[in-house]
Subunit: 214 residues, 2 copies
Amino acid sequence: MDTELTKICIIEDNEYMREGWEAILDTQPDFCVLSTFEMCETAFESDDIERADVILMDIDLPGISGIEGVKYVRENYPDILVIMATIFDEDKYIFKALQGGAIGYLMKKVSPDDLCNSIRDARNGGSPMTPEIARKVIQSLHIKKPKESSVQLSERELEILQELATGKSYMAISKQIHLSEDGVRYHIRNIYKKLEVNSRSEAVAKGIKNRIIL
Amino acid sequence: MDTELTKICIIEDNEYMREGWEAILDTQPDFCVLSTFEMCETAFESDDIERADVILMDIDLPGISGIEGVKYVRENYPDILVIMATIFDEDKYIFKALQGGAIGYLMKKVSPDDLCNSIRDARNGGSPMTPEIARKVIQSLHIKKPKESSVQLSERELEILQELATGKSYMAISKQIHLSEDGVRYHIRNIYKKLEVNSRSEAVAKGIKNRIIL
DNA sequence: AAAAAGACGACATAGTCATGCAGTGTGAAA
DNA sequence: TTTCACACTGCATGACTATGTCGTCTTTTT
């Protein structure tokens, strides 16, 4: 509940950011900033970490990154809620952090009010995110429709793309599906053309990501 | 922007709920309820559907369910934002609806204010959810067993595997990450060893399937 | 019936890959 | 200090891939 005191640790290398956050959070009667750290290494040696309810963590830290940091916390103190707060809104970072166990993902530009409410949200069973990030997360769940999202491959092409993913050579594939090696080549050309790629690995990556194969 | 008029359709079989929502939304100057329907069948025959910006949909509908309904809308009118609003907070329904293409998921008990703000949120690039649902969605991204489920690749290896998926040549990768071509080779050998594969495409396939990359 | 499209087979070749072997420098463990 | 693992650099080579071009034989379209 909101009436309970929330103990917070901050891990952020930028001094102004770190002290700014601390100052904001300390004005709240229901928050208590236990400690602030400029890097994971020192934070993880401190006793304050395990006493924390919430850790506010930057993603771009010297030494152990936030991505690694959140994994460490998740493994060692699974009950601590880690909220990433960074300047990166790239999918790569967002999903790595969330997969690593972050419970929320904020941008550093959040207003003081939003920051405080995000922490309360996390404590109350939510997962604070900016609207844009929520949208990205939801869209990552959407199953792509073969209609619009990606090209329609023929049965033969599908069959061959499937084999491509296993690393088989042209010859191995040709034997597998009873077709000449050049026949396999022919279909692979067309697969590449349709998927707009020019290598096996790209084709496989696209095929799996777009759920064409698997 | 909020100043723009948002055209809304409601699909909900419960008469009181349906009319209640309509009444709430109609009080808002930036909302316009085009039509309300008690089932998908009639809704999808109507011209109003394609004119809608947002569809508020119940999940438990007679005939075509909300789960099916959202898929239909997604396929035929990909720009329409479908928000599910239901009494079910079971994971099963939530994830099916979201995978089917819903952009948001609300509980029927939402306050009138929250309902309106959720629709605005969706229109502004967000994905409205209750905190509990946000948490479930985020937790679904968390990787379970970082230890045994998959091999541990080093940062460098991860970085290179990521590039392998794009079909880059050794040389291109070496330039990208500031390492000699032979250095790239060295890491790729190790990646292959760890993943127990012996080709790019296999490595990429395994990497994506095991969520090591992406 | 003629044209167009799709599914091969054949051949050629520059380019890329997979892999083996042999070093070097660094930092941690013994 | 020695040993050992790790992160490279260098080199070599057979194997495989990507792509272009040409030709044949159906099937579909017009």
